[in-house]
C-alpha cells in the first residue's frame, strides 16, 4: 500500500481499537493465547476485523500481536502458520467490508527483555521479528506497537525494513512520567526510530487519552513524521479491570489533540468499534494541523537525549592509543576497566563518550560490540563509535541503543562510499574529517572545500546537515605554528556557511610543548568562541572541563550560572571519617576504613620507594587476610569485607598501571575462570568473588552472567585453566550449573567450585562440583588449595 498517498488523501487516518478487549468480551480467558484463535476461531477474528472496518478504521491490525516464536513455543504452532492465517482472515474481512481498509501485520513485544535489562541478545530479537516479517505475505503495512524497550523496537524496525518493502509504523508505550517502563524518553524514541526510517511514529496503550496528552504534545514537537495516537479507554480499575472512559468522551479527548499535530488515531486496551466510530465523528470537519518542526542536532541513548545546541564535551579516554594499561585491558578483554573509564569521564563532565577499541591482534568488531554493550549497560551517555573499519561500525550501529555519532567519514571516495550509507541507514550523526586522498589541505579554503564535498554527498543521501559534525583537524602547534588559527578559521567558516556542527580533538595542539595543559585550554577556549560545538578532550583534566563550563557561563548559555555554581560553588567536602591526618595515614588504615582514594594515593607514593610485589605481599595481602579472618569469625560482615576488598582493588589498579608503564608484568598465581551460569543474571556475588580472587593475585577471566556452558568449556581449555568457579542464585538455574559441570568433565581436566544462595554442600557434591564455597572468602581458600599458593 502507499501510506503516503493515504495520508495525503485523508485529513486523518483512523486505526482500529482493542483486539484483546473484543476477544475477552467473546470469552477469551486471561492468560490464554489470543493468537491461536486465528486458527481455532477464524470467524470470530474476522468478525472483529470487519467490525472495526465498518466502524471507520482505515488501517486495522491483524491478530498477530504475540505471534512470535517465543510466545508460541508451547502451542505447537509456528509464527508462519499463525500469521498467514491471521492475514488471510484480514483480507477476507477487507473483501466483505463496505469500505476500503488496509490490514497491518501487528508486531508486539517479544515478551522477554533484551540486554542489559534482560538476557536476550539483539541478534536473537532481530531474528524473531524477521521470522514474523517474512510470514506477512498479504499484509499491507507493518505496525510495531506497545514497545517499551527502544532497542527492541529498533530490532523490529530493522527486521521490517531489511526484509520487506511495506511501510512501517512504530508506536511505543509511555507512562505518566513521559518515559517507557525501561526508561526510554520521547525525544530519544523520535530521533532513533525516525532516523531508522519509520514512516509514522506514535504512542499507544498504557494510559487514557487524557493522561497521554503531554506525551503526545512532546512527541509532536520532536518529529516531522506523521504522529499516531492509540490510547487505552482511560485507566482500568485495578481490582476489576474495567476502563473509565466511554466512547464519546474518548472521541472528544482524541479530537482535542488535533492542535497538537496528530495525524493518525485509534484505540488500544478497553476500546471497541464504538470508540472508533465516536472518534471519527469527533474528527469530522476538523483539519490536520501539522506542528512546525525545527530540527535540532542531537544524539541520544534510550533514556538520555543530548542536544548539540551548546558546546558538549566528548570524552576521549576510551581509546588505547598511547595507553599501555588500556591496551592490556583490551588484550585481557577487561570490560570492567572500560566501564570504569566511562564512569570516570562522566563524573568529570563528559556528555558524549568516544569509543575506540582498535588494537592490532584483537578482533575489533567483537571487542567493539562487547564495549558498546558493556558501557550502555551501566550509563546513559551517548556514544561516538570510533573505528576506521566499516564492518566494525556497521555491527556497532546495529546494537547501539539510541542515536550515536559515527567517527568518522572523510573526503576520500572510499570513505564517502562506505560510511555515508551507514549514517543514512541507521540515522546516526557523523564526524566529517577535512582530509582526503591528498592528505590534510594546507589552506583554509582547501579544508572548507572538503567539508563542502562531504556535505554534498550527504545531501544526496538525505542526511540532514544538522547530523554532520565537521572536524577541521587540529595540527601540532610546535610543528606548524600558523596552523592553529587556520583550523579555527576553517571551523568558523564551515559552521556559518554549511550549517553543520563542528568537532575538534583539542589535545593534539600542544604535542611536544611543555605545560601542555595551558596550550590545550587556551586553544579550546579560542575554538569555542568561533563556534566549536564538540570538543573531543580528556574531561578528567579539571581545567579543560572547567574551561567549557566557564565558556557556557560567559556565552550566556548557562543561564543564571546554574551549572557553573553547581559544579564550583559548593564547599569542598571534608574527607569523611579521616581521623588520621593524610600524611600520617598507613595503607592498612586506609584499607580497613574504606578510604579508596587515600589508599590509591598512598600506594602510588609507596611505589616511588618500594617494590610493587613487596607492597602486595607485605601490606595488601596481610590486611586482606586479617579482614577475611574477622569475617569468618563473624566480627565483621559482608559489606565490610567488600569495602576492604574494594579499597585493595583500587590499590592493585595503581600497581597494575605502574607495572604496565614500566614494562614489567605482574606475577599471577594462576588463572581462574568464573561466571554466573546460563539463565541466571545475578552476578553481584560472583563479582565479589572476582575482586577477592584478584586481590590475592589470581588472574580471573570473568565471563559475566547468563553464560553458555560451552563458552565456559572453551575458555577453560583455551587458557588451560585449573579452576573454574560457577555461581547460581536460583533453583531454576542450577540445571545450567549442572550442565556446565558435566560438559567440563567431558572436555577438560580441572577443579570446579560452586557457590550461590540456593546451593548446599550436598547439592554441590550431587551435581559433581569439587568444592562448595559458602562465601567469597572461602573461594580464596579453595584457590589457595588448588594452586598451592
Amino acid at each position: 500500500m502507499d501510506l503516503k498517498k493515504l495520508l495525503n488523501e485523508n485529513e486523518f487516518v483512523f486505526l482500529d481499537g482493542g483486539m484483546g478487549t473484543m476477544l475477552q468480551a467473546a470469552g477469551l480467558e486471561a492468560g490464554e493465547n489470543p493468537d491461536l484463535l486465528s486458527i481455532t476461531h477464524p470467524e470470530l477474528i474476522e468478525s472483529i476485523n470487519l467490525k472495526y472496518i465498518e466502524a471507520g478504521a482505515d488501517i486495522f491490525y491483524c491478530n498477530t500481536f504475540g505471534a512470535n516464536r517465543l510466545k508460541l513455543a508451547k502451542t505447537g504452532k509456528t509464527p508462519a502458520e499463525i500469521i498467514s492465517a491471521a492475514v488471510k482472515i484480514a483480507n477476507g474481512a477487507k473483501a466483505k467490508a463496505s469500505r476500503t481498509a488496509y490490514c497491518a501485520l501487528d508486531i508486539g513485544p517479544i515478551g522477554q527483555l533484551l540486554e542489559p535489562n534482560g538476557t536476550m541478545l539483539f541478534d536473537e530479537a532481530y531474528d524473531i521479528f524477521k521470522e514474523m516479517v517474512l510470514a506477512a505475505d498479504g499484509a499491507d503495512i507493518i505496525v510495531i506497537e506497545t514497545m517499551t524497550d527502544l532497542l527492541e523496537a529498533k530490532a523490529a524496525l530493522l527486521a521490517a525494513k531489511e526484509n520487506s518493502d511495506l511501510p512501517v509504523m512504530v508506536t511505543m508505550t509511555f507512562e505518566e512520567n513521559m518515559r517507557t517502563f525501561t526508561g526510554c524518553c520521547i525525544e530519544s524514541m523520535a530521533m532513533t526510530i525516525g532516523g531508522l526510517g519509520a514512516d509514522a511514529i506514535g504512542i499507544n496503550c498504557s494510559l487514557g487519552p487524557r493522561e497521554l496528552r503531554p506525551a503526545v504534545e512532546k512527541l509532536c514537537s520532536c518529529t516531522d513524521l506523521p504522529v499516531i495516537i492509540k490510547p487505552n479507554a482511560g485507566l482500568p480499575d485495578p481490582l476489576t479491570n474495567e476502563y473509565n472512559v466511554l466512547p464519546d468522551e474518548f472521541g472528544e479527548l482524541l479530537a482535542d489533540m488535533i492542535p497538537l499535530g496528530i495525524k493518525i488515531a485509534g484505540g488500544c486496551c478497553g476500546t471497541t468499534p464504538d470508540y472508533i466510530r465516536a472518534a471519527r465523528k469527533a474528527f469530522e470537519g476538523r483539519k490536520y494541523q501539522p506542528k512546525e518542526f525545527k530540527p535540532i542536532s542531537a544524539v541520544c541513548t534510550a533514556s538520555n537525549a543530548v542536544y548539540i545546541d551548546v558546546p558538549r564535551i566528548i570524552g576521549e579516554r576510551i581509546n588505547p592509543t598511547g595507553k599501555k594499561r588500556f591496551k592490556q585491558a583490551l588484550q585481557e578483554h577487561d570490560l570492567d576497566y572500560i566501564c570504569n573509564q566511562a564512569i570516570e569521564q562522566i563524573d568529570a563532565g563528559a556528555e558524549i563518550l568516544d569509543v575506540n577499541v582498535g588494537l592490532p591482534g584483537i578482533d575489533e568488531k567483537e571487542m567493539m560490540l562487547a564495549a558498546v554493550r558493556a558501557v550502555q549497560g551501566i550509563c546513559d551517555t551517548p556514544l561516538q563509535l570510533d573505528s576506521s573499519i566499516p564492518e566494525v561500525l556497521d555491527a556497532a550501529l546495529r546494537v547501539y541503543n539510541g542515536k550515536p555519532i559515527i567517527n568518522s567519514v572523510n573526503g576520500e571516495e572510499k570513505s564517502l562510499n562506505n560510511i555515508l550509507p551507514l549514517v543514512k541507514k541507521y540515522g546516526a550523526a557523523v564526524v566529517g574529517l577535512c582530509l582526503d586522498e591528498d592528505g590534510i589541505p594546507k589552506t583554509i579554503e582547501g579544508r572548507v572545500a572538503i567539508a563542502e564535498k562531504i556535505c554534498k554527498r550527504a545531501d544526496a543521501l538525505g542526511i540532514p546537515r544538522h547530523d554532520i559534525c565537521i572536524d577541521c583537524l587540529t595540527l601540532t602547534c610546535s610543528a606548524e605554528q600558523e596552523a592553529a588559527m587556520q583550523t579555527i578559521e576553517a571551523l568558523r567558516i564551515c559552521k556559518e556557511k554549511l550549517g553543520v556542527r563542528t568537532v575538534l580533538g583539542v589535545s593534539n595542539i600542544s604535542f611536544g610543548l611543555p605545560q601542555r595543559e595551558i596550550v590545550n585550554r587556551t586553544f579550546l577556549t579560542m575554538a569555542l568562541t568561533k563556534g566549536l560545538d564538540l570538543p573531543i578532550m580528556n574531561p578528567n583534566i579539571a581545567s579543560m572541563t572547567s574551561a567549557v563550563r566557564a565558556y557556557r557561563l560567559l556565552a550566556n548559555i548557562d543561564k543564571n550560572a546554574q551549572e557553573y555554581v553547581a559544579n564550583y560553588g559548593g564547599e569542598i567536602p571534608a574527607a569523611a571519617a579521616a581521623a588520621v591526618k593524610q600524611e600520617d595515614m598507613t595503607l592498612g588504615y586506609a584499607m580497613s576504613h574504606g578510604l579508596k582514594n587515600d589508599a590509591a594515593g598512598i600506594t602510588a607514593k609507596l611505589l616511588e620507594t618500594t617494590d610493587a610485589m613487596d607492597i602486595v605481599n607485605n601490606i595488601l595481602i596481610p590486611e586482606l587476610d586479617r579482614t577475611g579472618a574477622e569475617f569468618e569469625k563473624g566480627k565483621i560482615f559482608l559489606p565490610q569485607l567488600i569495602l576492604t576488598a574494594g579499597v585493595a582493588q583500587s590499590c592493585f589498579e595503581v600497581i597494575k598501571e605502574h607495572l604496565a608503564k614500566n614494562g614489567g608484568g605482574g606475577v599471577s598465581k594462576g588463572t581462574i575462570v568464573i561466571c554466573t551460569v546460563k539463565g541466571d543474571v545475578h552476578d553481584i556475588g560472583k563479582n565479589i568473588v572476582k575482586v577477592l580472587l584478584e586481590n590475592y593475585g589470581y588472574t580471573v577471566i570473568d565471563l559475566g552472567k547468563d553464560v553458555d556452558p560451552m563458552l565456559v568449556v572453551k575458555t577453560a581449555k583455551e587458557h588451560n585453566v585449573k579452576l573454574v568457579g560457577l555461581s547460581a542464585l536460583m533453583t531454576t538455574t542450577l540445571k545450567g550449573m549442572e550442565e556446565t559441570i558435566r560438559l567440563l568433565r567431558e572436555n577438560h581436566e580441572c577443579k570446579v567450585m560452586v557457590g550461590g544462595a540456593v546451593l548446599t554442600p550436598d547439592y554441590a557434591k550431587e551435581i559433581g562440583a569439587d568444592y562448595y564455597a559458602k562465601d567469597a572468602k572461602q573461594s580464596c581458600d579453595i584457590a589457595k588449595e588448588v594452586f598451592g599458593q
Partner: protein, 223 residues
Amino acid sequence: MIDYKINIDEAVRYMGYRGFTPGEQEKALILSCEKQLREYIEPAWVYRAFPTEQTDEGILLKGTTLTLTGEDIRSHLEGCGRCVLLCATAGAKADELIRLKEKEDLVQGYITDCLASAAVEGVCDSLEAELSKRLADKYLTWRFSPGYGDLPLDLQPKILAVLEAGKRAGVSCTGSLLMIPRKTVTAVIGISDTPIVRKKQGCAACSMKDRCTFRKAGEHCGS
C-alpha cells in the same frame, strides 16, 4: 506514584549482618545509598481480584487459565472465595543503578541491591494497605509467592500473562523464570468474608528450607 517505605533493618538483614547493627561508617553508607536509590525507584504494579474455585489440580482463578497448584496455596487460600493476584516492581531504573554501582563501587552495589529488595517489599506493603482499605469489610491473608512452599516457580509466566504485567508494569520473565526488572514480586493474597486464622509462617512449610541463605546462617527470613 505510590508511597512506599524501605525498611532499612530488613535490608541490613539481607546484607548478612545476622542480627548485628552496622557500624557508623557503614550506616552512613547505607543511608546515602538509600537516598540515591529512591531517586531511581519507579514503582509499577498491577493487581486484579479473581473468584477462585477448588479443582483437583489446585485453585483455579476463574476467568483465567491459571490454576495455582500445590498443597500450600490450598491451605493458604482456605476459606477464601476470591484472591488478589499481584505483581509489583521497583522498576528498570533500579536495576540500572545497581549495575552502575557494582562497577563503580562493589560495596555500594551490594548495599543498593539489598535495599532495592527491601524497597519492592515496601511497595507491596503499600499496595496491601490500599487493598485493605478498598476491601475494608473483608479479611486478607498475607502475600504468598511462587517459590514459597510447593507453589511452583514455573507459574510465574502464567501469572504475568494473566495480569498483562508486561504492558501494565513493564515486567517480563526470562526462560529460567527470572523476573525482569530484577526487583519484582508476584504474590497471591486471599480475600475472605470471615476472619482468617493467620497460620504461622515458618520454615517447615518452605520449599527453600534446605538451601536458604538465612537458615544457613542460623536465621530465618521473617515471613
